[in-house]
């Protein structure tokens, strides 16, 4: 695919590659950051990357089906729920250690 073509005709691939980029960035955040809250944010990034994929596929599928968009709702709900629980956990950790470093989760083992 000549480079010009790629720049002019934005298609499914573009969205998918964007999604991949976003996903990897989110993953890097999860792996590298120490702050629990930032890690949660990175997870949100990854979920959003997935959402982009869903919507893109929904848009570019030959039969224009909306199932992809429906899925986005579920993902968002899960994301919200996960954020809520994650932040609640972060709060308990913070109460104990006055810090929200991921390594305190090591102490969660029974």
């Amino acid at each position: 695919m000549p480079i010009n073509d790629a720049l002019l005709n934005v298609g499914l691939s573009h969205y998918l590659i964007l999604s991949a980029l976003l996903f990897t960035l989110g993953l890097l955040g999860v792996l590298l950051r120490r702050n629990v809250i930032v890690i949660l944010m990175s997870i949100e990034l990854m979920l959003n990357a997935v959402n982009i994929t869903f919507v893109a596929f929904s848009r570019y599928s030959p039969t224009a089906n909306m199932d992809g968009q429906a899925m986005v709702f579920f993902v968002m709900t899960i994301a919200a729920a996960e954020a809520a629980v994650g932040l609640a956990l972060a709060t308990t950790i913070f109460k104990k250690f006055r810090e929200v470093n991921i390594r305190y989760f090591e102490h969660l083992k029974g």
Binding site: L27, V30, L31, L32, I102, R103, F105, E106, K109
Partner: protein, 655 residues
């Protein structure tokens, strides 16, 4: 009366006595306990007599057999609980119950001061029950039951005063040594069973009847005979398993008389006589028996010369006399062995009981160096002891003369005999005469060597004296049941050899011609009697006329004296070379094989697994991000795999 009934009484009377006395084992009433036990044995004796009566008469059966029930039936092995009294066991059962009754009677007086007379009598009765099983059992297995049973009772009675460590140890030694023999006996039973397919004596004898005499060493019959002889060695205290018998003197003296002189120790001889048709087929095995017997006879007699414990002297004497019996068996003179067994039972029981009487009188003193001059204190004991003494050294016409002389003559003349065996027998007899005379001299004659003001020896009560007198009479006249032909011919009425006649149908005789003539027999008889007499005179001169001489001789031959006094260091040898290495070797086994080898090997396996685990554990840090890393690595690898990454890369770079 029915044979079944009589046998039941014969066997069960002592057992019931055992149970009654066993249940009241705490009782100190020695008179009651003794009466029950003695009564039980007496009943047994009467029943035995009644059964034996059936064997007399013109058309009497050769044997009375009863069968009660099957004990074991597995595969081809059928073991009924069956008993038999034939011409061999009749002799034995009468001796055992008869002498047994007398010894029980004697025990009443002897054990009067003991803590646990009931227990003692219970054991004694139980012994008798087992002895009867041994004698009457119709098959090898039943005999083995009795065989082990008497060993057990012997253990219990030797260790009767178990608070003394030495005595308990002696009991254990006896049991274990016997067990070695028993193991051999077991192997003998196995060999016979797989050879002949039966363990019943009757069937064994009828099955071996047609078999040829085995020549070599490895034939099954020779093997069986040798195995059985190991059993006999253990029970009858032959070299090399004799060591338990002298120690067994730790038990009460009547026990020594009953078990370790008159009955149990002769079981080996009895067994060989019983299986004589089998043994006769294995001349090589018989040679072994004869040589071991002769060696034991001399060996034990020489030890007897230097012992100072009155019972030990008698014990070695017993070992030596048993050697004579095996010598007789070994040369095929089974009748002579039986004969000596019976006469020995009389005079040795007499002498043991006599020694018991002496020990009782001397307040448990057994060292003959601290006796002497007891003749005036214990006239009855002395008189009866003299009878026993004459009998054992073989002065005619006392019992010992006939039986011992027959053995010597057979050792010389039998086709299986040898002049060397005869010579060994004569030496043994000479030594016997010497040490018995020495024993008499040191115990009864000369001057008292104890404090006459402190110790007041008293003559035995009647319950102890009666058995002594009865046994003395038997020792005196017992020999007439087997008068040799050469003597019978010159006697009025020409009495034949009754015993030989009685046993003729039941025992085997060696094939081949006996050598030696009547003149020869007279000459040999003369030689042996005169040698024994000389030895006795020598001992008399040593210990009565010149009491210093023994010490001079001991000083002159220090090596020999030390060797004899220490019983050839056999016990020490066994202890140093067998028992100690066994114990320390076992400790080493435990330490090295179990703890250091097997356990360590299992630990190595365990440590390996544990090592792998702890290696893997380092991955599990609990660090959540590390876990996330693992997940991402796994996902990456999965993708690479799913997209055929390696192939694509190869395409990319390769072509």
């Amino acid at each position: 009366m029915q044979a079944e009934f009589l046998f039941a009484i014969l066997l069960l009377a002592p057992l019931i006595g055992f149970i009654i006395n066993g249940l009241r084992w705490k009782s100190k009433n020695y008179l009651l306990a003794g009466s029950i036990a003695t009564g039980a044995v007496a009943i047994s004796f009467i029943a035995a007599v009644l059964v034996v009566m059936k064997l007399f008469g013109a058309d009497a059966p050769k044997a009375v057999t009863v069968e009660y029930f099957k004990w074991m039936a597995v595969g081809g092995l059928e073991v009924p609980v069956a008993f038999v009294i034939d011409h061999i066991s009749a002799l034995m059962v009468l001796v055992v119950t008869g002498v047994g009754t007398l010894i029980h009677l004697f025990s009443i007086g002897y054990m009067s001061h003991d803590e646990r007379p009931s227990k003692y009598f219970a054991y004694l009765n139980f012994f008798l029950f087992n002895m009867l099983l041994l004698i009457l059992g119709e098959n090898l297995l039943l005999m083995f039951v009795g065989w082990e049973g008497v060993g057990l009772c012997s253990y219990l009675l030797i260790g009767f005063w178990f608070s003394d460590k030495e005595k308990a140890a002696a009991g254990m030694k006896a049991f274990v040594t016997n067990r070695i023999g028993d193991a051999g006996f077991l192997l003998g039973i196995f060999t016979i069973f797989f050879l002949l397919g039966t363990v019943s004596f009757d069937e064994i004898i009828s099955k071996v009847a047609g078999m040829p005499v085995e020549v070599g060493w490895s034939g099954p019959i020779t093997l069986a005979a040798l195995f059985l002889f190991i059993g006999a060695m253990g029970k009858s205290a032959q070299i090399p398993l004799y060591v338990w018998l002298p120690d067994a003197m730790a038990g009460p003296t009547p026990v020594s008389a009953l078990i370790h002189a008159a009955t149990m120790v002769t079981a080996g001889v009895y067994m060989i006589v019983r299986l004589s048709p089998l043994f006769i087929l294995a001349p090589n095995a018989l040679h072994v028996v004869a040589v071991v017997g002769a060696a034991t006879a001399v060996f034990a007699a020489t030890i007897g010369i230097t012992q100072f414990d009155i019972k030990k002297v008698l014990a070695y004497s017993t070992v030596s006399q048993l050697g004579f019996m095996f010598l007789a068996c070994g040369v095929g003179a089974f009748g002579a062995a039986m004969f000596h067994l019976v006469t020995h039972a009389f005079f040795k029981a007499l002498m043991f009981l006599g020694s018991g009487s002496v020990i009782h009188a001397m307040h448990e003193e057994q060292d003959i160096r601290k006796m002497g001059g007891l003749k005036k204190y214990l006239p009855i004991t002395h008189a009866t002891f003299v009878v026993g003494w004459i009998a054992i050294i073989g002065i005619p016409p006392f019992a010992g003369f006939f039986s011992k002389d027959e053995i010597l003559w057979k050792a010389f003349s039998s086709p299986l005999g040898h002049k060397g065996l005869w010579a060994a027998g004569v030496i043994g007899a000479a030594c016997t005469a010497f040490y018995m005379t020495r024993l008499m001299a040191l115990t009864f004659w000369g001057k008292p060597r104890f404090d006459e003001h402190k110790t007041h020896p008293h003559e035995a009560p009647p319950s102890m004296a009666i058995p002594l007198i009865v046994l003395a009479i038997l020792s005196a006249i017992g020999g007439f049941m087997g008068i040799p032909h050469v003597i019978g011919e010159i006697l009025p009425g020409h009495p034949g050899n009754w015993l030989e006649h009685w046993l003729a149908g039941s025992i085997a005789a060696p094939a081949g011609e006996a050598h030696g003539s009547a003149i020869m027999e007279w000459i040999l008889m003369g030689i042996s009697v005169s040698i024994a007499g000389l030895a006795a005179l020598l001992a008399f001169s040593f210990y009565v006329i010149e009491p210093d001489r023994p010490k001079q001789w001991a000083a002159r031959l220090p090596g020999l004296h030390r060797l004899l006094e220490n019983k050839y260091f056999v016990d020490e040898f066994y202890f140093e070379r067998i028992i100690n290495p066994l114990v320390s070797g076992s400790k080493a086994l435990w330490a090295f094989v179990d703890v250091n080898f097997i356990d360590r090997a299992t630990f190595v396996v365990g440590d390996f697994v544990r090592g792998m685990g702890s290696t893997a554990r380092t991955l599990q840090t609990g660090n959540m991000q590390q876990y996330a890393l693992y997940i991402s690595i796994a996902i990456a690898l999965m993708f690479v795999y799913l997209l055929e990454g390696p192939k694509r890369l190869a395409e990319l770079f390769g072509g």
